[in-house]
Structure formats: C-alpha cells, structure tokens
C-alpha cells in the first residue's frame, strides 16, 4: 500500500460519506416531500456503497486473506 493507494481509498470512502452528510443537510432544510424522499433514498444508497467498500477493505486487510 503506497500513498497513491491511500489517497484513492480515502477518496472512495469520503465520497459516499460526503453524500450522506450532504443529503442529510437537505433533509433538515427542505420541507417538500419529493425532495425528502429523494434525499432519504440517496442516504440509504450512499450508506450501502460505504458498507460495500468497508467490507472489501476489511477482507483485503485481514491477515488470513494474504
């Protein structure tokens, strides 16, 4: 694992995280139902992406996987 890998990993993890916080902020400030539903769906999708990435990362880092 070198610097470039760490940067890419950090970027891949932060992207869905940014979307979770961005859409959550929209949930707080918007009252229209359609926007709130879209935001909630996006949060669920971003959380799912993040979970998949973390599963892959943990599998890769586990000593038994090497």
């Amino acid at each position: 694992v070198n610097d470039a890998h760490v940067d890419l990993l950090s970027h891949d993890l932060r992207n869905p995280l940014a979307m979770i916080s961005g859409y959550a902020e929209l949930l707080l400030i918007r009252r229209d139902e359609a926007v709130r539903v879209e935001a909630a769906e996006a949060i669920l999708e971003a959380a799912s992406r993040l979970s998949t990435l973390l599963d892959e990362l943990v599998a890769e880092l586990r000593p038994t996987a090497r």
Binding site: N15, A18, G22
Partner: protein, 202 residues
C-alpha cells in the same frame, strides 16, 4: 424563491453528487445550465451554454478536473471555476489556481460553504478552501515547457523524440526533466508521471 441570476455548468461523473447539487441549488440564485460527466462532454457544452460558473469534480473518468479547467482556459472559456473533491488533498488549491480555477470546495463541507465559494467566484473573488493542506515547501509550480515535457514522458516518448517534438536540444530536455523531477520531489520518469497524475498536473 430567489430569482435566478447565475447559470452553473456541473461536471461530475457521480449521479448522486449531480442530484445533490441540483437539489441544493433549487431556490437559490443559481440554476443548472448543463451537466456533464466526462471531460469530453464539457469542452463542447461549455461553449454552447456559456455558463456563469463552472463546478468541476477533481477526479473524472477521463482526466483530472484541473486539466479540464486548463483546457477550457486555453479555449477561451473565462467563467470562474470551482474545483471540488471529497478529500482534503495536499497542494490541491495551488494546483487548482495554477490551472486557472478561482476556487476549491470540499464535498464533505456544508451546503452553505458551497454557496459561499460559488458566490465569491461569481463576484470576482477567489475562494480556496483552507482545509486542503498547502503544497510541501520547495514544490514550485511547473512551467508550461516542463509540463510539455512531462506530458510527452507520460506518453512514453524518449528524450530524443521529446527534443524533436519541442524543437530543443537533448541537453535542454535533460535540464527540463531534472527541474521537473526536483519540483515534483521524484527521481524517476515513472514516479514523475504517477506524482503528476496525483497532483492533477497531467
């Protein structure tokens, strides 16, 4: 509802980010004039739509946002540009400024921060996010000639062919390469190319 005043051209390959920006802009003085997900799509769209501001992701599927802004400036597109990334990246704001952008933003920041950056650049001010650590000391910007050499190195061109392509001597190529290596803090061609990609120079 604020009356629309400024058109935005958004460049991001992630549909979720595009929707978030679209929803965030609703009711503000900004409206989406166009959306693109690759460098290739933007070059034509920017000319056609003549946006007031460009909102550009740093990592695109077919290139870096910094290089896209540089290309747009070369084509005469003068709309202020804000480059965005999810990561606080060392030297990002400097690389963005050198490419011709007026601002940087963190996707992990708040909607208000996004608006602050866009409002600043349409008002003619710079807005570089301070959370991107500054470039390491001694890492000066590459000159246009050094960037030309680096681009040819990245394409696998030999020193002799670089000299012919740029109409300079082999010694000049070596000097330009050495200067480039020093500025990037590397020792080999492959390292230089990898670092340049990482910094958004290529």
């Amino acid at each position: 509802m604020s009356p629309y005043q400024f058109s935005v051209l958004l460049v991001d390959d992630d549909a979720m980010v595009r929707s978030w920006v679209r929803l965030s802009l609703e009711g503000s003085e900004f409206r989406l004039a166009g959306v693109a997900s690759t460098v290739g799509e933007v070059l034509e769209l920017a000319r056609k739509r003549a946006p007031d501001v460009l909102l550009v992701d740093y990592r695109l599927p077919d290139g870096m946002g910094t290089e896209l802004v540089r290309q747009l400036r070369g084509q005469g597109v003068t709309a202020p540009a804000v480059l965005m990334t999810a990561n606080p990246e060392r030297g990002f704001s400097e690389a963005a400024r050198e490419a011709g952008a007026q601002g940087t933003a963190l996707k992990t920041g708040s909607i208000d921060e996004f608006f602050a950056a866009m409002r600043a650049v349409v008002a003619g001010e710079d807005s570089f996010d301070g959370r991107h650590p500054s470039r390491s000391p001694g890492r000066a910007a590459l000159s246009p000639r050094e960037r030309d050499v680096l681009r040819l190195v990245a394409a696998g061109t030999t020193n002799r062919d670089i000299a012919a392509a740029l109409d300079v001597s082999g010694e000049t190529v070596k000097t330009l390469l050495n200067r480039t290596f020093t500025k990037l803090g590397v020792h080999r061609r492959a390292e230089a190319v990898a670092t340049a990609h990482k910094l958004g120079i290529l």
